[in-house]
Amino acid sequence: MHERARERRRWIEIVLAGGGAALFLLLVVLLLSRGGLAPTLPPTPVPTSPADPPVAMVNGQPIGVNLWAEAVLIDQVMSGLAGVPAPSPEETLEQLVNQVLVLQAAPSTDPPSDQEVEAYIAALEAGWGVSDEQVVQALEAVGLDRETWKRAVTRLLAVQRGQEALVAEGTPIDEWLARERERAEIVIYRERMAQAVAALSPSPSPSPLPSPSPSPSPLPGPPPAPDFTLEEADGELFTLYNYLAEGPVVLVFFQRCG
């Protein structure tokens, strides 16, 4: 496939995957556009926990095999919900490496509150058009629970904040990340990764979403589109649900204006 088309497809996949993957879109794309995985450096002696040995070290900070395995499964579930191919385990690890880089560099802020995390989860589910129950079902199908996903989302929000703080300091995040990837000491333990990939449950493909069918279903339907009221350019108030009374609405998000 043409390289540019392939890259674009990857963008779309990751955007659609939403959730875990979506926020790191930029990071992942940047990574992919710069030639893939970090170079493998010779392993150095590091303090490890026998129960959770690292699959990577980022400036001396370990990424444990358990965190990585969870992230791989979460990516699979979220991609399944969006109906797109999941990132490879290697790509998921690269996302984690980028997250650690951002968290290491960003000024420390308060952790996201439970309320913020729940609000973000609700927004994600609304964006995907699925209910919380459907997400929980898909997580359970690969042996995960909602709490695990919630931890991942909490982490995502923390990284997002870190990223915003870095941008606020005046550095475009893509430039910053490219520089950090060059500068940081990143060690990937590929042998351990390979072993762990083999140990992951065989093809835990997330159960497909129940398709919207007229048959009675015990699951609640997807949540409705969020309502909103905004002032129109001509000064009148626009309330989505008032317009819906007249017919379907095609909501168009412009990326840029002016």
Partner: protein, 100 residues
């Protein structure tokens, strides 16, 4: 502005177009006038709506990713397309084809 050019076809199918952008009200007003956009256009200045629809900052640029949501009269999202890049959006015809 391909959507603008197909506005009548959307209306003929009973659908209304509405646009949002993470921008100041002034920027939105100027864009609407400059492009002659015939449908409502709003400034989502504090990006609350973009966030509610899960498209805010997806491209890491502090704006909404280009996206289309078709919302049915019962409030259900009938179809959506979230762009993976600044120019990644469906054609007007592709959107029209999705309308009930």
């Amino acid at each position: 502005m391909e959507l603008r050019d197909h506005y009548r076809e959307f209306r003929a199918k009973g659908a209304q177009l509405a646009a949002l952008a993470v921008a100041s009200p002034d920027a939105v007003r100027q864009t609407k006038q400059a492009l002659g956009i015939p449908y409502p256009m709003m400034a989502d200045t504090d990006h609350q709506v973009s966030e509610a629809y899960g498209v805010y900052n997806l491209l890491g640029d502090g704006y909404a990713a280009p996206a289309i949501f078709i919302i049915g009269t019962d409030g259900q999202i009938l179809w959506q397309y979230v762009g993976g890049g600044p120019r990644d959006r469906p054609t007007a015809q592709e959107i029209l084809d999705q309308l009930p």
